[in-house]
Amino acid sequence: MSADTGEGRRKLVEVTNLKMHFPILGGLLRRQVGSVKAVDGVSFDIYEGETLGVVGESGCGKSTCGRAVLRLYDITEGSIRIDGTEIGRMSQTQLRRLRPKMQMVFQDPQACLNPRMTVAAIIAEPLEEHGRLSGKERLNRVYELMDAVGLNRNFANRYPHAFSGGQRQRIGIARALALNPKFIVCDEPIAALDVSIQAQVVNLLEELQDRFGLTYMFISHDLSMVRHIADRVAVMYLGKIVELAPRDGLYEKPLHPYTEALMSAVPEPDPDIEARVERIILTGDVPSPSNPPEGCNFCTRCPKVMDICHRIDPEFREVAPGRFVACHLHDATQPQSRTRTGQTGATTRSEHIQQGEDA
């Protein structure tokens, strides 16, 4: 688990300028009258074996982004390369062959399991669809998977309703693991669970990652949990990634004003810290993604807003090694990091020290 800038490691997922716009139909003839820009030009890479956390408030497009990366939608624009294969423009038939490599764990363990299928049938379904195993081999594989996620084999013939939320999420994870995937998108896998059960599922996901060398895209609104599980974190706001950075750097010194406000808003279970923390209270609500503001998307709520923010949308760029941010506050940092190496060198060094401590 290193949170480095990723040099020398293989990129398993490369997403470039991904856009997912949903049409708004209106009028008598149901013509398109506008579009919801759920994901509006995001670019990121996920390295093999790492966990990329994606955080943001509801409606920021993080779930849509996760689903679009797996091509559960027909995307509007952009390129997605998974394990070297470009899947952005592939047909669903072609994609079917690639599905075993990439899987998903859904948010609501109640809704994503068919109530009329037994646990064994649910976990075996991907094996039937994509595998060539005999009935007996398949059952053995199901038992193996149930062991891996900590479910009792004796419960294989029970139905989902007989399980608690945490156990249901384990069933969902076992199903995602069935075909030995390389890449799993976890869409808010712990949001529907109780606090004491969340830690169980997160620990399980981490164990499975170590054991099978999985790569995760972990989507969540829980910043403290993402800090725990992710190696790098992307912060989304209104369909765009506003900041992408290694975990420790991001949580220590957020560069984007939105990230800063988001982190300061998280309540800490410690009255002494709570009494000290200075909150940045954002005013107003998130604008509608069908009608985003001109210039920077965050300019309507930003506490550090400048004139330029209302006119020009800031470019998403690398301001320090491995740290990407889309904000005009850091416009000047860009040329410096190229010419004055002294400053950048210092940043890099401090990051390396952190990694040393971490490892």
């Binding site: 608690s164 606090v195 004491s196 725990h228 279970p269 709570e274 954002l282």
Partner: protein, 332 residues
Amino acid sequence: MPDGAAPVLDVKDLKTVFRTRAGDIHAVNSVSFSLKPGELLGVVGESGSGKSVTMMSLLGLLPSPPAEVREGEVLLAGRDLLKATPEGLRKVRGREVGFVFQDPMTSLNPVFTVGFQIMEPLRKHMKMDRRRARARAVELLNLVGIPDAERRLKDFPHQFSGGMRQRVMIAIALACDPKVLIADEPTTALDVTIQAQILELVKELRQRLGMAIIWITHDLGVIAGIADRVLVMYGGQVVEHGPVREVFANPAHPYTRALLQTVPKLREPREAKLKVIEGQPPILGAHPSACPFRARCEFAFDRCHRQNPPRRDIGKGHDTACFWDHRTGAPV
């Protein structure tokens, strides 16, 4: 808040049972607590721990059948609410006790304007005429920080965002200047930045209006930020209770201790692995004859399997329902 003040709300030995076809569910077992004027009591627990059912039982908000409040006393300013007639209870709800529910979308009526819904309790309880109720409604919306109040009275709930709707709910709950405000997970459905707005609002309103608040949540962070005292519930019982700083600094019950460790922190060093509470919360099929946490407790010993621990005082207004002493690490 003066220590010796008489409580506005005093709940003693409350017991609520749900009668289902599969048998009785003992959702609330001998819960006692009191609320002093002007204080904020936080109630934490997981889903199914009985925190919401307790508060709904107080005001007769549970459908009966299946729910049945079997025992106990709920004294609001000296009057027992469990003995009140339906008519009497209706006068209490919204007038003396305000309620804010978790989901601001489903608790507002979508076919009436927000203005109508704020004015309703004012006209029913305070017997205000339309003009005065309207003026008060504008005042309330301003109080909870909704801009352009005059015009927004004519809007319907769907025209408000989640955070704004929750502000409307708070405005309705505050309409008749209640003595007690019960807020049931009021920020759980909201985003963190919006939650921070609502928490700031509540802190400010408390200073200004000085009412007593019961705040139900599963988020220990929220409790740490706003509560004066905290009540930890597990398996339909109060397992620990005390002043907030004391409980967070010296948690006594193994459940509270484990819960505090299992939550990852944002501002403290990151741990390599999360601490886990193994197992599942109990199903409350019978009246408890043993400690509800025994199956998940790392300190459980034979007495815990035979007897349900009563709450015992451990000083500084702090009490816990456990046979294990956290200071000596041995049975009491």
